[in-house]
Amino acid sequence: MRLENISGLYESSARERISLILDAATFQEILPPFKRISSPHLKTLGMPIAFDDGIVIGVGLFEGKKVFCAAQEPGFMGGSVGEVHGAKLTGLLERAAIEKPAAVILILDTGGVRLHEANAGLIAISEIQRALFKARSMGVVVIALSAGSNGVYGGIGIVARCCDYVLITEQGRLSVSGPEVIESQKGVEEFDARDKALVWRTMGGKHRYLQNEAQAYTKDSIKNIRATIAAYFGKPVPLSLEELLRQHKSLGQRLEKFSDCADALDIWTKMGIQNPDQIPSLDDESFITIANRVRDHD
């Protein structure tokens, strides 16, 4: 792979993303492919396996500090979580609770539970969540990044919002239910999954940043992403009553203000944005300027 040709994360593989985000040549993979720790369930279904079960985990340096990093491979089974994939991430977070690295960086790109492993995938996500809370309770800052091609969906969408911070790019998405699932269960009137503009207005990076589902928004460039991640080092969000009461108040206000809004455009209007219909076409810098004027800061 020729890393100098890659300017952002959107189209890169999990391995490329880690190489780009961490300090050059510092990543040491845990359970690398030659260990062949892969899915027994896919074999039963006669489907191809990947030797890393679609997630790369390990230790490296970020601006000289020790970090743990995980990246989901969007190209394998939609980045979805199966028994082994999930256990790798759970193990990494449990290890973080013990070793207390400067941060854990989760480069997420997934549809959620791997249906081919159904129940095992759902339980795995719950175990990831518990391990995440353990790491956070030890003061380790966990940063979730949504910059990828599949988005961050399903139970992992919930997990992402359980991290200290969510960083998102324009192309990133963050949600629990995907557009196709909503459409197939509730009909195209409820959600037209083929309406890309609707998908991005509802679940995409710009909207999530504006409403503070994501705490940071960056241009999809390695320099910008690294700078944004660096800003959160040393700033774990406490899992305390005070903090949760504060978040509860904030989430309550969101409901009070925007509960009857039919579309993101209505929300953006209510937030005080002059030309909400232009938001999707704004370049990153212009968008960030406008957003920072109107959004609630933490």
Partner: protein, 235 residues
């Protein structure tokens, strides 16, 4: 047909009271270990931003007003609300917030026990139930990721083949016993519903034992091993 009241009559023979607020229920029950808080959902509730927020509010109330009181989560949900509005408003954030409120309760000494008395699905169950220290289900309960027919369509594997696999593996099918085999449930409750709960109340468990149980019971043979390999890897 189980409803929450008939379930509670068997779960809490020493008495209970429940208040209904929309699709949320809350209240208290008497047990031999003292009073416990009850919190949960009814009518196969889809959990969207409003319900998640209301549930979280109740957890915070319990934390503030009843230090260390055990919380019994009564689960009946069809999962996260599949709606444009709830995604627009950021359901991931509300469900995460609910999870974090439960986690805070656990950290502050509230034992968390969940009981699926009817249905539990996917993201709804993740935030309301799977977060517990110990989880149970009635033997008639249905716990699943997705309806088998929908899975069949998305996976492009015939329904017949999936049903075949359900018979030989706990990975696919919706039965509570599958979740026991996989390590996610302590036990299925049948006949005597209250004793297992009384026992769980006196044996609080702060660590996540599910991967270990999954291995012991044979439903998940790799998860526990992989977690430990990662923790112990030399890097």
């Amino acid at each position: 047909m189980t409803n929450v009241n008939s379930a509670c009559e068997q779960l809490f023979p020493l008495g209970f009271n429940l208040v209904t607020s929309g699709e949320m229920i809350y209240g208290e029950a008497k047990t031999s270990k003292g009073v416990v808080a009850l919190l949960g959902t009814i009518n196969s509730a889809p959990i969207g931003v409003d319900l998640a927020f209301a549930l979280a509010g109740k957890v915070l109330e319990i934390i503030q007003n009843y230090p260390q009181r055990p919380i019994i989560i009564l689960v009946d949900t069809q999962g996260q609300n599949l709606s444009r509005r709830d995604e627009l408003l950021g359901n991931a954030g509300y469900l995460a917030h609910l999870s974090m409120c439960f986690e805070l309760a656990r950290m502050r000494g509230h034992t968390l026990i969940s009981i699926v008395y009817k249905e539990a699905v996917s993201g709804g169950y993740l935030a309301l139930g799977m977060i517990a220290d110990r989880s149970f289900a009635l033997d008639s309960a249905q716990i699943r990721v997705m309806a088998l027919s929908a899975m069949s369509r998305i996976m492009q594997i015939s329904l017949e083949r999936l049903e075949e696999l359900c018979a030989s593996s706990p990975i696919f099918g919706p039965g509570a016993s599958n979740y026991v085999a996989l390590g996610a449930l302590d036990a299925v409750l049948a006949n005597d519903l209250s004793s297992p709960i009384e026992q769980a109340l006196s044996q609080s468990e702060q660590l996540d034992q599910r991967a270990k149980l999954g291995l012991e019971r044979g439903g998940r043979k790799l998860a526990f091993e992989v977690i430990n390999l990662v923790i112990n890897a030399h890097v």
